[in-house]
Symmetry: C2
């Protein structure tokens, strides 16, 4: 019986994890949930799973949840709140496996504490590896516990890596759907609208990740994640465009063999893999291999997609640079979605913020959060400056 | 230092093995060679590699080689001959690894003796697994030594299997180039000429294997080899047509993940893999992953290619059936190449010979060879009978 805590239980990955646990009641027990601000979902999950501990984002929600659970005869569920509450969930003594799926830097501290407490952690939160990757992977190595990736690309890499030893790896190949602008000429990038950028050809996702897919910054983050997770230099992590997204990623070995992983596109599969690793167990998620027809691939163009180049540079430099990359991207994407800057301004904002940051090694999550806040401020200032500049020629063109 | 014996050193796989050994002089030592009837090549290989022992097919060649080696100041190379000589090479006490690459049933006894002597064996000879697979794999299990496949498909499967445990395997997917008649209507099969059948779209190979590729019997043999090597029931081994032959094969796991292997098409790669397993070492055989563009797949049609169906049935029945399948195919293909029977008579000859054989378990290589000879006689008789029958309507149509 594996005893699980979920950080971000009401989000998409959290709900998928519970759905996996539901399919294998004899294997998984839900011990603790960090549920955020969705009170109704937190109540339903508590009633269904009867965890020992639930954490809400704020105290009033915790009070309300406690009252409702008491009313429902579930007064033995311990309800806590805030950052300290999330850490309690992540480090609960009865927990073996922690799913880290809180979006943004909010999940960093609890994830780091889970690793420090010797838990096996399944990582679905990008910031854990992009912003705090050096810190968290070093601690996991110290603990001798695996960090198991819960996203299709890195999970695929993890599976392919079983074909050899780490020192036998020549290169990691991450596949990328390519986003909506693979065939758009670079010269048209300045006029890309929010609607066009949100119209991803294959995936329906949140707004930020959809824009990050259109700029290839999402793939850039994945390059950094691969470097941190698998201790690879950025030069050994490459990106190949594969519009069908059937093959989730590949590993090339020094003898010239390449292993590729594919499966249905269902987050429950990497979750199940992480939860049961090193075992595999039967699932109903069958890819119809016999129906396979065409797989297409093409190279990436870093001149056209400067966000990808910026990610490689930040991965190489390390330290606060990757923190700034993530923070500035969040600011720039928000500004683009609000119509404050153009599509091709996104990499400009990020580049300036990353240049302004330094590559000092960050020694604690507090330092990561400080670098994050600093980069956000810087990026916001840049966005404002750009808007002022842009107001000039726009006014002219109206006249 | 791995000490190697090669059964079939002057053939294609034998020469590729020596080429691999040449690239890594610090890793591999050539101890013994079974060279067959190519005296000149045997002499050159002996001079280059200075093995302890060389075996020729017949005594006069052994005498000649011995004399030439003495003349060249290499009188310390021991020269033997015949089936007993091949067994001496296969079981030489200084040898760790035996490459089994003698074509046909001639290599069976020596390969079996190598396994019995506790050697690790790299199998490139089809008959070892199709005709004597039950016997040889059972002995390898008894010895606790791996049988390492030296052909691109099974080598790919072996690599993909590292992604999980054997009991976690749902299915093996062998890829097939499909041969020249994938798009030829079944109704045209009776008029296929020898030239058409020898015109394989992707590979230049020997005549028998080219015809076996055109009938898909070659893939049928590979299904049987996969069943024997990996202890899988035939129902769990499937064939997928993949004209580019980039992906060499795939393994589907019970959780729904599929691993696929690809690489350049160079026999030295599976040879190197087998020779260094469980290690991988650096090679210059790089597949240009970044240049990958299109991979196509399509299903196989057993009604159109009855040889594939016959192979599945023989694999299921086991015993002398798979011996008969191989023996009758060799006879039928030779008869087709000589213009004695038509292309679509090939499966008819094989089906009759397999039906006539029984599925008794064969307890020794001698019994395998006996079943082989019996099936050949039966198939020859069928070919003759078919010719007589065919003479009738042909005479009529001339009138």
């Amino acid at each position: 019986m594996k005893r699980i805590a979920i950080l971000g239980s009401t989000g998409s990955i959290g709900r998928s994890t519970l759905s996996v646990a539901e399919s294998y009641p004899e294997r998984f027990e839900i011990i603790a949930l960090a549920a955020g601000s969705n009170l109704e979902a937190a109540f339903e999950q508590s009633r269904r799973w009867r965890p020992r501990l639930v954490s809400m984002a704020v105290e009033p929600d915790a009070d309300r949840l406690r009252a409702r659970l008491k009313q429902a005869g579930l007064g033995d569920v311990d309800v806590v709140y805030g950052a300290a509450g999330t850490v309690k969930v992540a480090t609960h003594p009865e927990v073996d496996f922690v799913v880290s799926a809180i979006v943004g830097v909010a999940g960093l501290e609890a994830t780091y504490e889970a690793v420090k407490a010797g838990k096996t952690v399944g990582v679905a939160n990008k910031e854990c590896l992009v912003a705090a990757g050096e810190l968290i992977t070093a601690e996991a190595r110290r603990q001798g516990k695996p960090l198991l990736p819960i996203d299709s690309e890195h999970n695929a890499v993890h599976q392919c890596l079983r074909g050899g030893r780490m020192e036998e790896v020549e290169r990691i190949w991450l596949t990328a759907s390519g986003g909506p602008f693979m065939n758009t000429p670079r010269s048209d990038f300045s006029s890309i609208t929010v609607e066009q950028a949100l119209n991803h050809p294959t995936w329906k996702m949140g707004k930020r990740i959809t824009i990050d897919s259109a700029t290839l910054m999402n793939k850039g983050f994945e390059v950094i994640e691969a470097c941190r997770l698998f201790h690879m230099p950025p030069a050994k992590v490459e990106v190949l465009v594969h519009p069908q997204s059937t093959i989730h990623s590949m590993v090339e070995f020094i003898d010239g063999s390449i292993l590729a992983q594919f499966s249905v596109t269902d987050m429950r599969l990497p979750i199940l893999y992480a939860l049961t690793y090193p075992e595999r167990i039967q699932s109903d998620m069958r890819f119809p291999v016999g129906n396979l027809r065409h797989l297409d691939f093409s190279p990436t163009d870093m001149n056209k997609f400067p966000c990808l180049r910026l990610a490689y540079e930040a991965a190489e430099a390390g330290g606060a640079k990757t923190v700034a990359l993530n923070a500035a991207d969040e600011v720039a994407v928000a500004a683009f979605l609000e119509g404050r800057i153009g599509f091709d301004d996104i990499p400009r904002v990020i580049e300036s913020a990353v240049s302004a940051s330094n590559c000092r090694k960050l020694g604690s999550i507090a330092e990561v959060l400080e670098a994050d806040a600093e980069a956000r401020r810087y990026a916001q200032e840049w966005v404002s400056a750009m808007q002022k500049q842009a107001a000039q020629p726009r006014a002219t063109s109206v006249v």
